[in-house]
Amino acid sequence: MMNTLKIIAVVYLLAFGFLNNANAILPIEKLDGYKGAKGYLVQTKTLPMVDIEVSIDAGDRYDPVGKSGLADMVAALMQYGVRGNNGSLTEAQIADEIADLGANIGLSVSGERAILRIRSLSRKDLRDRAVKLAAAMLSAPTYEAKIVEREKQRAITNLLEAETKPEFVLERRFTKLVYGNYPLGNAPTVKSVAAVSANDLMQFHKQFYRGDRMIISIVGDVDRSQANEIMQTLLQKTSQSGAPIAKLPELQRSPVEPLAQREIQIPFDSQQAHIAMGMTAVTRSNPDYFPLLVGNYILGGGGFVSRLMAEVREKRGLAYSVFSYFSPGKDTGIFQAGLQTKNEQAAMALEVMSSTIAQFIADGPTPSDLIAAKSNLINGYPLRIDNNRKLLDNVSSIAWNDLPLDTMEIWTKQVEAVTLEQVSAAFQKYLAMDRMKIVVLGAKNK
């Protein structure tokens, strides 16, 4: 039903459409810097709401040795007590205030950064109060000892539970294997969380939560001067800079090793075996980002139509979920592929996944693969930017990774420019089967 000519026509028409619509993509405005922080704004006026994100260069990679989990707790506990202008606010008062405003304030931490997000109605009085509350969290969390103890105990209880789950045990072991001695290799353990003190939280916050380590992204119903005002209110009490922070070690590329050194079996009495395979890869700013993006769509990123999906699920019925992805960031990210299957067929599933990846690295995509991938990515681009939340994700990624401000405007052109040779060359340059780490978790599977 689907023939090559038809798809070429689709891509051709679309490219034309996008040239005409280039102006439809909303521009990112750079705000005035404040306290060493950068700020960015996309104005969308159709709904009376605003989304604000503060990214802080204070992710898990800065966890001190033996205290993994510290960065997570520093962020999470900001909502459990702050000193305000005229006295303190308890965790109960903070929660009630957020609820009364009809706002959301969320905190999360990834390997690279801590993120505070506010969603508020754009009406000035409501917005102001949400922003002031967030400002107090960013500048003056109290980390009261009693609350720290309670939250540590909760985190430990959650960890003990997680350690009974196949996906968690697999992921932790795989991460350690790929990152090795790089800080992100050390996931939180019961011991490392227990070692964290209230004073550690205070010190970490003081050291990392400062203007020159923050980026603010705003999307919604505010103009430029209002956005500048938000930024100033957010950072009013935050210090601009502080003591220099030790440089992180370089992440070493996954080395060539014999299989026995790269592959780990974890005995586990679950019904399914869980399998992970991968290695170190690239940063987001890597010039080969687009060939890898397009290539991975074909290999294991493209939902129901990827090669891994076809080989593992469609042709053989071996798994419900099978995937591959790159996770590029400011730092070198990793490439990872995975699946889950009943224990008896783990070896077979691993073989199918490995050979599919190996063949893709060796031979690259076919011309029709490449056309289909570009067709999906280009035609589907509007779906990546069609609401405030998604726009915020984009602005945030662009700002964090130091990408050009016209990244959204030129995205489809960059996809279109990718050639077969570039995809093959990039996969061969960054991935290699004799470097892939493999973890198989499950009941006796040999």
Binding site: M1, G102, Q153, T157, Q272, N376, N379
Partner: protein
Amino acid sequence: MRSNLLRICFLFLLCVPLSWAASSNPPDTHEFMLSNGLKLIVREDHRAPTVAHMVWYRAGSMDEVNGRTGVAHVLEHMMFKGTNKVKSGEFSRLVAAVGGRENAFTSRDYTAYFQQVEKSKLDKVIELEADRMSNLNFDDAEFLKEIQVVMEERRLRTEDNPSSLLNESLMATAFMTSPYRHPVVGWMNDLQNMKAADARDWYRSWYAPNNATVVISGDVDPKQILKAVEKYYGAIPMHELPVRKPQIEPPQKGIKQVQVKASADNAQLAMAWKVPRLEPGKLDDPEPYALELLTAVLDGYDNARLNRVLVKQEKVVNDVGVGYDMISRGPELFLINASMAKGKTVAQAQTSIRKALEELKQKGILESELKRIKVRILSDQIYKRDSIFGQAMEIGGTEMAGFSWKDIDYMLEKMQTITPEQVQAVAKKYLVDEGLTIAVLDPQARKSEASVEGK
């Protein structure tokens, strides 16, 4: 800051007008009925050049019969396995080629399929979706592979997931006759014995325009949409649907308890009470709204009652959650879930939960607690409009439960009129032992040494 804060807070609450959220140009929605019984609902939203297209079939796991649990969901998988015109797997390739995102989902009440595309591609996905409404044609070999995939899905989501196992036992215990007692994915033994013919029978029985609602939201012109929908869906003949037996659950007469042993570190407790749901045609019944608000008073924000008392003050549970959905085709439960804090027992957690509920039943709730929840409901009306996909989901889910999308705003207004006394009254009336089911997860150590480090 504190005193100032409280004052502003008070002022704000006084000033919130009810129409506040609905202020800026409310969304334009249109409804059409085709002559073959297919209902079309179009929500115009011109913020971005994209569209969500969904077809909802009023056929979920509650319509399954003995020995064939899971067939609604299995058929959902088979819908991607080819029609008379489109061969297996081709549906997804064609949607991908136009840049679409797609998937499908099955619940107790319905099965739904969706695509999200740039607006000029809408016709293509309508054509594809309409094709598989009446022309599905998969072969037995495809079925035999896909049923394996479904069993892997069950292993992943249920067999190796203690919380899911607990929930499965809870439902099977709480309900004796209602088909809600069966899991949507189906029992493993039923999956092992399912035949391609079972899936085909299901398809022939329930997949008909007169059992379907198409919901389209986004940057569209309703007149053009109607034309396209008539062109592709309009030609499909309607047919008679199987008789649905009411299978009304008889009243419960005392506490039911069930224990589940599964690999876990920590015990879990689930307490579920039989409660009413909102009935179509009885939109003014205050009880379901009061139950929704009770849910939020107990668990709607970080300082809501159960989290405050059980997690933060008494430290008896590690996490607690409350669930209730007043909109559904089948019987509803008011559900409290908790995982124990380290060193605390299920009995201690149950005592604390009961104490918190007792206090609420005796002393009621504060006006300020309720207002807080109502403000959240108002602001969510704005936030939800950020997602055209979310809007289509809300419309579809509401329609499937037997209501009209037009009822959504009325329900939200009705919610604003509920008083603290009404919330207290439903707690007193329904959170009683006669209708209670208790499920406990008894954690078992794994035989393997999961935390062994080293190669």
